[in-house]
Subunit: 154 residues, 2 copies
Amino acid sequence: MAKRISHRDSMCGVARPLDAIGDWWSLLIIRDAFDGLRRFGEFQKSLGLAKNILSARLRNLVAHGIMDTVPASDGGAYQEYVLTRKGQGLFPLLVALRQWGEDFFFEPDEPHVTLVDRVTHLPVRRLELRAQDGRMLMAEDTVIVVPSPAGEYE
Amino acid sequence: MAKRISHRDSMCGVARPLDAIGDWWSLLIIRDAFDGLRRFGEFQKSLGLAKNILSARLRNLVAHGIMDTVPASDGGAYQEYVLTRKGQGLFPLLVALRQWGEDFFFEPDEPHVTLVDRVTHLPVRRLELRAQDGRMLMAEDTVIVVPSPAGEYE
DNA sequence: CTAATGTGGTTTTAGTTTGAAACCATGATT
DNA sequence: AATCATGGTTTCAAACTAAAACCACATTAG
């Protein structure tokens, strides 16, 4: 049923997460969830996607432990969808996406929504990749290493 | 032709980037590009996706300024696909995705590929979101603010 | 020079997925 | 009891995906 990015039996550390998230819509649902939305109808209104799709995506997110259904918070008889801890772990990814968007998809003077520190109301800092010793790293400064099957003695 | 996440005329700072990337495959192509792959055949072998799909994805990435075609590096008559600066800007996103994957998709002892600092060979640091003043921020410590249309005096 | 092979695609075609709209079940409201 | 709101599921046409066949050009072998 789920569309899998197949090919290799053991999907790599990038493909596995992508497979769990499911698709773009799911990411927008998750963003809305970080924004405080919880109800089916809220997500639908915010995103404007078909109800069957929303239904399927929420079900998939719950199945993958990214969101969870809870009975109700306002006493209503319906359920709500909330991020699990696993789902909350996606926040840096959303920030990275947003910052990339700010860099390349808006004119310098074009107004756009901004993620700010709740207490100071200043924009958050740029995400930056650093080495253990604190040096800032660019993509070229990194390598992927694969673990050797047995004890790795290099 | 491109599948658009429609609904709102002005897509938000998260949807716009998603739309440009295109789909999951594109993200895997980009990851492979960071890994040094450049040729059509290399991507196809690495990802195992159909050639027509790869062709369409590469075309889309080039159209969105994320990758670019260059004549050839080894003197051959074929072209190669390389990341533009815009494309390179996606590195933090891939790192975020990978780190999330490490956190939630592998058993603690399960071996997996790791992103390491090229000079020390130590794993890179975890991405962390910080305020301007350096305080570390969780998702709950942030807010989205929308710019007021005219001069914003709050 | 000619044939064989490798690379980088496009076209074709079937199967799957998507999404809009209609429908439906349950709970709340009048 | 009737009506409305919420939260879905079902139906069905259109769009997309993907495997395979095909093709053009470049390179290598003979």
